[in-house]
Symmetry: D2
Subunit: 473 residues, 4 copies
């Protein structure tokens, strides 16, 4: 538990996470959560945690690392109970804090609750300051502590009502899994920024998971997505659902389809792989190019590259091979090696690329540095031409709803046109998928998704977004 | 962080601990705290922690284990700042919880504070429930969180005043080290149950430590003990002290002299080794016995055994050798080995004991099981007679002020006379030091010490002691 | 270092491994080896090791785990020298022995040498017994110790000559990287069973690597493959090569192309990805099927599935998604979970598969159990028909040259016809690539490859293969 | 396993170690060895290991660290068998090598053997070179590998005979515990430099241990010491003993009594505590001094200080308190702290020492630096006079038989008279026990002990001692 005050109290949690919950009568909830979190591991590799409960007894274990590193067989065996709340957290450099790991387990007048959160609140600091003014204290920098504090304040004996009251206060994105001694709750914010699905276990009981791949991993049958603004309660009497606040403009993060989610997941009923394929096909229609090969940047570009190649009637091929054993945190012993770290992660197949005109498909460009390295790598491998095609529009605005993006100034798409970016990265051409085409091709409803990182049209007013970092310096 | 609800929220902190603090301008506070905690390690081997601060920046690291295990050179180097709060925690079986490790670092409206606590509150649960009724939540089971919550509530801009207000509310034993971004506080409860000393660093600044051996370890010169009911504040302007509440009946725990403290420490100006020696001498006067050898149970019986032998003009000798490499938590692979675990910890010297009448000196008897094993071990080694002499009166009442004792029912001194106990443990004779003799011989003032575990005369009313464990089941 | 006598002395090393070496004047050999081994990690995840040397000084570090787990920044920094020998070892269940990790560092009359070995000797036990009869002892169960013992015996001052003499004695497969205080050797057995490539470093010096992806990772330019029966010596005078024994029948393991090697590697000048694509195309020609989708079993089936789809003019699609975070050794808490472990590793995309006739492409079938689970998984995901196509002939004979295959009895291809296997695994049809077609399509010369696992035609007589396991029971 | 060639192959094993063995039919040998090694932990804290065997099955586990750190409950449970060989190794700075940990497990033509060694060979390098000339190789730098190699060479079917043959070749000090699949051997060199005792288990079978405290820890009854030149064999037929070579001049290391052994151990029938007491008494007779207090340097000076005080009729007192939680390897974050590290290990009791004339009793002086710090510490604590008395003669010659002493040049006793040393360390007076007095008082026979470090009269010719370190540079 190494903390700096800046990281502990100031850095907003603008990261992706995965949440999982289960109410599994006569079953081992920890084992189910373990399998479910394994499937959600791509949503967060920094820390993992599971809290299990049963009546007055609750056990929690959480630590830095992958799910398989955090949970030994012995640990799992010691977590007895039939209700579980689980969490995986994204790895950001530097501020890897055990204190910020989830679930957050708290005790208050009505008992205890364990809370797992995916998302980012816009007004956490305001509520926090308000609670601090009343004399409350905080021990972490995570929004989840604010949510738990509000629930604790509002709960006069009906936790569901307290959760509802909390939803009236908090603004932003949140998919929550909350467990008490006899209940499991799933909560999704009124805009439905982050996904959350419900599954039914074959031997009785239910699970909640950020993505349907988490349901599949435990053999659960898909029931429905938790709807925006909805509270799902699962207890001994079964599943009950209700709209807890009036739904806002539906605004599922479209980047879930572009990059975050696993291809085998369905989000709000659309399959991620198929959506990506359609992005690629549309990209081929919008920005065709005479070339010999369509090559994806693995893994996120694969589905779209297939769609592009199929639509264009061109040859799809692997051309860059990803090292499967390098996590996000591998060491780079010295500066020279850091420079060449991309070579360790990706290696071109010379015999495939030599002399060829190549179209390389990637999901997005944030700062442009990696794209430049990839173009250079392809040229050094003998590619005659390198045309980059991006399966989404230019990222031009920061996200305030749960993704750890840069400030506008760091986003190359904010300050440069595609033509300029093409020059910066050294490509023969660079084109992005149009916003219109992206939605049209994929059958995703533009009115039900958040595309603010592309067009700055935030579903919630963000002029009030707290400048927390400044405020504390 | 493995927690059970029972251990997390219910088990009272009836353990010894060690606290350390430093305000060391232009010095590395973490290194000073590291050395200081090493010297206090005997007060707690379960977990260790250090929080360092400097203006808006605070860093904390704490983990399960010994000081040398928790702090690597790299860890220490990363803890930059000139103010530090440190803590070591006693190892109790089972409930070893990282969540309960200290210091406790919290943020509230006035900034942050890090708190290290040695002692036990009588009304923590009452305050806690009161705060919970107001909507506060808790994340640990330690009293320290209650103290921090009160301070956060009371602090309107003057943290010292808030600490003072907190002292008005909390009842029980507490020696506290509290740090903020620019101040170090030392606080001792009105009865002065637990020790706390002030030292002056050779290169400027001050330290606070549970025992003077912690001052010695960092080369600090002893200044004074923090007085009962006193708040000591150390900041850029130097040291300032004031009585924060009217002093209660002074009630330093006499067991600090009997067992807890290191012999080289002075507590409230009395040296522990010398006090123990006098206990032994008095014991010789009260309960002489014709014998060949005076043998201590190491290590706590050593000083007193010397005093007994010297007074009686008898031969002092090592007769039981302690294994120096066995911590409190060593594994005992199976039942048979557990039975014989005392053999692994202590081994008699047969050639010293064979055919001899032996007086064995121990500090106290709690349940009597270990004493019985020691008597048997001495007889098996050939001792012709085994007379046990205890350097304190019979322990007959549980402690409510920071020692992890049993309930009355488990205290053999509660239900048995010395003669009966002598039979139970198989000794030829068993005698205890008298309360009167203990104080008279040692020049400790009986009116300034808590001897409640011997006579049940608690310095604070304990009929209101919370029955937390029951309350939660 | 946990050993059983059976595993320590009896289990033959029938596993894949990766070797790497470098002679890098004025450079940090350990860092180069680290990057190279990262790229070879797919050849072995059980243990990793690097020995660096320079004159009379040699340092070695090896441990169980992935390259990134075994080597911290500090470890690498402590391995000073410009010559390195590195190794990664395959993870087999149960017998994970640190004692068997490589490189093997030994001292003998001429100094020391560090040896890394990929392959398997046929007569290791014979030589071992012979050496034992002369009074030698052994401390590991690896063939490498036999090789080192022979070299030590034969080296009268010219280590290269001793290596040559050793090659006259040992039979089987071996690609070796051997380092001394001033030399780096690369050695490949007369049949060239296992690959080994030479690269030139941009800043001077050379590297050796099992696959060319290891050269790419350190920015080395491909020079040549070490030829069968050749010894390559690299020292201060540069690179020198010579045939050390008459070449046998060239017999590169064709499974390197089918399964082991990384697609971006070239082996003996053929690119692995392209060869696999051609396998797939030929499979389409040999065993066409009316279907809607061509789906690979990731990752090894991907290249071939592309080739199949392209040749057949059919739609290639991802249909099974692999969990990228599950290593070979993840825990399966209980029996029920073990049963469903394939679900945690692979998940079908229902929306892609539902109602479709699917051709699933895999590289090989060993026992058939996994294939059966995959077929079932595809059907449960809604596939109307499941046709399995295998990009190699049936595996019917055990390997004696470095692959950890089962005995004949365990190979389903040994006892069952493809039609029977198809029924066992529940497929609508099952077909294998023909041996003839495999070689013809890929332009690999059948006379230069070992296909013994398919046809039992071992390049070296194996009737004398030692029955080590029996011999020791 | 981090090795440098210098440490791996050159540094002689001039360290103390502890060995333990058991043949325990129908019992768990690993658990017995675990308890035994715990009791011998003071003889080595660097590494620990246990090999258990039963017929064709042998298991070994060894690692760096204390016995309790190396062996978890799970590890012990996995070591099944009724014969065990165990070892603890002394911690020397820098060259902490897992490769050098023991027992050494080897396989050779007759099967396998596991060997644990305490001592140091004089001609290991000669034999090693001879074996290397024959083509043998070595993988460690420990003498034990030379011993095992010789046994492997000589064993034509009778391992006991081979051990006997080995004893004819090796010169130096060795107490060995050797296990095979059905036998346990205890071996002591012809001079009996290092101790080795035999005990009988209450439930059948035997144990061997470096010291009798190891017998006590497992409840074994002392049978006898292994005699110099003797081989003790324990197998299903029971215990058998025979003189394997003609006994040399008996030369038990007298430093076992002075410093190494635990006070509760008997070595060759003399109790260590009592011998030390007599050393102290004799020292009082030889070098009386008018003083107020006799204070030991804990722990090794304790027994002797009691003897001194008793003989002189003076007051024995604790005056220096040792931190019980600081191992030999604790970190000292920076130079300033290293300087003061003695303060962290030892703390004076000011109230005991202030104004007093103090006699401080220590066991020996090697380089004199620590003695100087202790004298200074006592003075700073207020001692008016500090007289140092050493319970052995000046150490003037290096040990070649198993103790990690300095070269003559580093031994302050080699170049300085006691008077000079007294000045160097700043004492008011310094006196050593005379050699004659040491033996006379203790009833130890001077002709049966090695006192070469005092008088240079080595029991074996050491002019032929190998200058290994030079030879390799």
């Amino acid at each position: 538990m190494q903390n700096g005050i800046k990281s502990l109290f100031c850095d907003k949690q603008e990261e992706e996470c995965g949440v999982f919950g289960t109410f599994a009568p006569r079953q081992n909830a920890a084992e189910i959560a373990f399998s479910g979190l394994l499937a959600l591991q791509h949503r967060g590799q920094e820390s993992a945690g599971i809290a299990v409960s049963e009546g007055n007894t609750v056990h929690i274990h959480k630590d830095m690392g992958l799910v398989t590193q955090v949970f030994s067989k012995e640990r799992l065996a010691s977590l007895k109970g039939h209700i579980a709340s689980g969490h995986v957290r994204y790895s950001t450099t530097g501020s890897s804090l055990l204190a910020n790991a989830q679930p957050l387990l708290v005790r208050y007048r009505q008992g205890y609750l364990a809370l797992s959160h995916n998302g980012n609140l816009l007004n956490a600091m305001n509520i926090r300051e308000e609670l601090e003014q009343k004399g409350h204290l905080f021990q972490t920098s995570i929004d989840s502590e604010v949510i738990a504090s509000l629930i604790a304040q509002l709960d006069k004996g009906d936790v569901e009502k307290a959760i509802e009251g909390c939803m009236d206060r908090i603004k932003g994105s949140y998919s929550l899994v909350i467990t008490t001694g006899d209940k499991l709750f799933g909560v999704r914010d009124p805009n439905g920024f982050r996904p959350l699905s419900i599954g039914k276990l074959p031997e009785g009981g239910y699970v909640l998971a950020s993505e349907t791949c988490g349901l599949d991993a435990v053999g659960a049958e898909f029931v429905d997505d938790v709807q925006p603004g909805e509270i799902v309660r699962i207890d001994a009497r079964g599943l009950s659902r209700r709209k807890a606040c009036k739904q806002g403009e539906k605004a599922l993060c479209v980047f879930e389809f572009i990059y975050f989610a696993r291809p085998d997941s369905d989000i709000d009923s659309s399959n991620v792989h198929l959506v990506r394929r359609r992005f690629g096909a549309q990209l081929a229609r919008e920005h065709p190019v005479e070339a010999d090969l369509i090559v994806p940047v693995p893994d996120s570009g694969i589905s779209a590259a297939m769609g592009y190649a199929h639509e264009a009637g061109m040859t799809y091929s692997e051309g860059l091979i990803k090292n499967r054993y390098i996590g996000r945190t591998f060491i780079q012993p010295n500066q020279a090696m850091r420079e060449s770290s991309i070579k360790i992660k990706l290696n071109p197949i010379r015999k495939v690329l030599a002399g060829k005109k190549v179209v390389v498909i990637d999901d997005s460009i944030v700062r442009g540095t990696t794209s430049g390295k990839i173009v250079r790598m392809l040229r050094e491998a003998g590619a005659r031409e390198v045309h980059m095609r991006i399966t989404s529009p230019p990222v031009r605005y920061p996200c305030h709803f749960g993704i750890d993006t840069q400030t506008s100034a760091e986003l190359i798409g904010h300050s440069h046109t595609p033509e300029e970016i093409s020059k910066v990265i050294g490509a023969d051409s660079l084109n992005y998928l149009s916003m219109e085409g992206m939605y049209k091709a994929s059958n995703l409803d533009i009115d039900e998704h958040c595309s603010a990182c592309f067009d700055g049209d935030y579903p919630l007013p963000v002029d009030t977004v707290e400048h927390n970092k400044l405020a504390l310096e």
